[in-house]
Symmetry: D2
Subunit: 351 residues, 4 copies
Amino acid sequence: MSTDNLRVAVVGAGQMGADHVRRITAKISNADVVAIVEPDQGRAAAAAALAPGAIAAASFDEALDATAIDAVIIATPGFLHEPILVTALERGLMVLCEKPLTTLAEDSLRIVELEQQHASRPVIQVGFMRRFDAGYKELLALRESGANGALLALHHAHRNPTTPPNYGEDMLIKDSVIHEIDIIPFLTGEPIMSVEVKKPRSNSLAPAGLPEPQFVLFTTESGVLAIVEISVNVQFGYQVTTEAVFESGVAYIGRETSQTVVSAGLSAQPITPSYKERFSAAYDEEVQRWVDAARGGGIDGPSAWDGYTASVVAEVAVRAQQTGALEPVEYAVTKPTFYDEVFAVAAGDRA
Amino acid sequence: MSTDNLRVAVVGAGQMGADHVRRITAKISNADVVAIVEPDQGRAAAAAALAPGAIAAASFDEALDATAIDAVIIATPGFLHEPILVTALERGLMVLCEKPLTTLAEDSLRIVELEQQHASRPVIQVGFMRRFDAGYKELLALRESGANGALLALHHAHRNPTTPPNYGEDMLIKDSVIHEIDIIPFLTGEPIMSVEVKKPRSNSLAPAGLPEPQFVLFTTESGVLAIVEISVNVQFGYQVTTEAVFESGVAYIGRETSQTVVSAGLSAQPITPSYKERFSAAYDEEVQRWVDAARGGGIDGPSAWDGYTASVVAEVAVRAQQTGALEPVEYAVTKPTFYDEVFAVAAGDRA
Amino acid sequence: MSTDNLRVAVVGAGQMGADHVRRITAKISNADVVAIVEPDQGRAAAAAALAPGAIAAASFDEALDATAIDAVIIATPGFLHEPILVTALERGLMVLCEKPLTTLAEDSLRIVELEQQHASRPVIQVGFMRRFDAGYKELLALRESGANGALLALHHAHRNPTTPPNYGEDMLIKDSVIHEIDIIPFLTGEPIMSVEVKKPRSNSLAPAGLPEPQFVLFTTESGVLAIVEISVNVQFGYQVTTEAVFESGVAYIGRETSQTVVSAGLSAQPITPSYKERFSAAYDEEVQRWVDAARGGGIDGPSAWDGYTASVVAEVAVRAQQTGALEPVEYAVTKPTFYDEVFAVAAGDRA
Amino acid sequence: MSTDNLRVAVVGAGQMGADHVRRITAKISNADVVAIVEPDQGRAAAAAALAPGAIAAASFDEALDATAIDAVIIATPGFLHEPILVTALERGLMVLCEKPLTTLAEDSLRIVELEQQHASRPVIQVGFMRRFDAGYKELLALRESGANGALLALHHAHRNPTTPPNYGEDMLIKDSVIHEIDIIPFLTGEPIMSVEVKKPRSNSLAPAGLPEPQFVLFTTESGVLAIVEISVNVQFGYQVTTEAVFESGVAYIGRETSQTVVSAGLSAQPITPSYKERFSAAYDEEVQRWVDAARGGGIDGPSAWDGYTASVVAEVAVRAQQTGALEPVEYAVTKPTFYDEVFAVAAGDRA
């Protein structure tokens, strides 16, 4: 391991955490995993085997006592994020926190406030990886270019093959649509101001009691209407597409094809089986850019503020699922100038 | 002209009427245009020049007195349809009536009742040509096959390059979305039961006072949610697409490509400039099949009942534009068995 | 039947002939089938049933004696074409002759000479239907526009699902590549000047003794290289594509898609199962335009001269199959001015 | 820098060398650039600025004296490769050598022999990056699966926007088609046994004296025919596609699309402007996998043997350009078992 490299602790060694350990060890430049924090000893050992030289610790404090750490990737279940974030801020560490920032908007707001007290500029990046997807970056660049006039509306399709056990109706929002809740402000440059949920005829392949697909209608400050179809038992694979309606043009992303095979009466392209294949390159770019920025003391992606606003919108969207009414979104505070220096990821020279 | 051929009067020699004269004269088997009814003498003469042997008449009655007529194509403005329909029914003629059947739902209902009095089976076909489009037929066949489970939702995009003068907000429904109002029951096999209209940020390229695009949300009897994006000043061409969400699959139509040209940094396919190119083959098939059916005393496409229900839904949709609320649809009568014998156009052996 | 309509005799009531009877009776304007000439009584009766009013005759002479005939469609096996062509020329009839014009180039040349003696302008059209395909018309229009500079090379793929019994190696040329032999001069505006055949590893799914696929390399007068892959046992369907290499651009046709269905891990478009679906619209346009032209005493498509040159090239290509060498093409006569007035079918206002 | 990381010297700091310095420094895990060898002081300084901690040296020997080096990337002009390869073999270094291995086949053969003397297994990897392209890996996996029967033929299109100054006719082979010369044995699993070159009408946009496009026809041991269209002044961008003809199926790669934008009458996808965008991900994967293998003392990609055979075929292809005849390919020696342990890169678990 290099003395120059970013020394990263990965907290949580479930699937996402283990993926991050593997990525930093095998694909990413200028970073080393120095500690893996995981109370489950089997998981901890498995992840440590991926990163020679990393220590395994049962708690974040134990890891901090045992080795020098520059930065932390938080990949535990969401309800455990807050204390790790607080410790990281107190210790002056750089952070990449998987979504959600915290499970409650009020907790996220507290993190936003704490970050401003402890740091002179944002140090927490939230793991909304879609901002690093080539398609979304191209779409943002197209809007910013003005080539087709103003953006008026967005059609999003977000489709998962199946749901894991215990996937409740609110997880349609909190686990899935949360990505569109982040990407809509990213694409439009505006906050979401209202949410409404429509529930069509349900998919009989979904578990009993899970009414899906659902259509979530978001409206941004200037009136852009973003309609999100969330379907989570489509069986056929994993598909995330967006159709953007501009004043004099339309753009599509997520329809990108790879090898075409003509056989048995069909001309066919494969559909990615899961989010891993669909967003693999986005994850790699997200982490490399975070490492590069963290070595300089900053972030290069969505901030804690973006994590906070996503939490606010998600809470309103869950309420809208229940009421069926158009629910307005209110933010407790206006965006602090502290977060102004963080630029969104666009397709231009920043790509 | 042949004594066996269907002797057709075309009433109205504007663009649509002239197109029908040209089509029957130049492309369609087993029919002749024998009369053109048009009060404007210039238009009448121009249309008559396309159909050697056809007489020009200033009124439908004048034409009926002058020559033997088997069938009539009604291509006048919608508010003039009703008396021609009544005369045709009284005279026992076969009818192809361009949409709308009549401008008011109550008038359409009267035509439905009159048809049942005068005829032993449906003799009026309404000119919803999309049912004859290859894509829509394939989509219907896919639903009927059950290969991907039940149909749950539909995303429709309906985009026009520009609007003619005097195109008011209600024409978004009456002139444009009226086609989806017909095609949604065709695809789902169910009536529409509610309508809601959403108005996002408006296109600055639209004429002053025309708030568009709009999103019209229809729900059918079993809960299929059909979302129609209607945009009428997109500049780039004419585009009609549908994305159908089934339980275990998704199908797209209207993205069909033709020649691809790679040049100057782009791989590009042309977009049809207007509805004429987009639905040219559908119009040809519609008219040929109507001619074939009319020679046998029947119809082969949407009936007066379909024209009536479309009028009902359109009236509710215009109300929904004004109220912003979810508006239920109510039909004054249940579907008479008289209309049961008319089958929708599917992709199978009827194609 | 109409006295104005073109009175057509169809000679040969096999699959192609029966298709023409059906087409003219059910889809084409301004023509009637008045006679069906077919020695096989069963076939003759089946075809006659499609065309009410048509007589069935065992020979062309018998039909000519029995009823008034304006035009003839020749759909017999190729080796029977010549005497029917001669009779038609002597009687002053208009002709649509399925390919080949005749089986031997020298016989085709005699027809070309006879046509010039009997008629003041071309009256024989040869059934190369690809010239009426939308893709080929667009490609010709692109070349004529000069938008991407000169045409330099063509890649053709011509794939059939399986071969019928008794399909010999020379039929790869005479039955299949014959279509490219016609379309290459159509697209380039130049005659073919040499042919060479390459035989790669053979398809084990082909009948024993049929070495296929084969690659046929044609060079035109200015040096355009056209490479034709002919594969006739691909199993998966029927596919005809062309990739045209211009100086500053590339164009593709035949990749056009229809409905896309996403299911079970694939995004798929159907492949046409046979030439009938692939070229259905081209056949319809070919016949309607021939009828329209024939009513005025002319043709509107490939002439007997095109039939002759195709026969010459096909004979050389069969020789090239045997020798493996680059074989030059020589035409016995230069193109008579008699054939100059016949224009190729392009995409512009002639479409 | 880490003591565990692979210590890499980059020899040659032109565009390709500088790209490798940037890649290893910014994107690749477990490797550091420790030395940059470049006689041009300006270039050397520019490259060194990209890699903090790397020394700049005027010669490879100077670098070896100055710092500890595990591996070398050779990115000088081809005619300078041989002495660096020899030194690397003598010093026991791991090598990634940009194509060509050497400019003459006889020199490549000497390197192959020397490698067997100095090493117990292959230590030289040649920079044919296409083997790491997702499309080519999928195509190889498809062939290996046997799903569509045997591979019979390949259509390759290789198109460059423009040529640099002093690009002679032989560079069509040596600089451009050399990639297909490597990828054809990779895809077929067989050596190339003959070459023939066809020269169609030339592109007037090419420099005077450069007759292009050209078509190079390769035949492999079992008879697979691979036709390569090489065009180097197409203006529109950079395009590399392959169409593989199997017994019962066809596969296409290189047609992959990204964002589609509909505007001004066209539905368009961008074409990559240069090889950098087209093969960016392939380069990254090539280098990361080479680093991973080199740390274990091996290679993971094309070997010196592949470099040798490519040189042999390229020499024959240049002769075929001159003679116009079908030229057989002869290899001076049979493949040593020494090279058997190196596996080709396929799409499966090795991807």
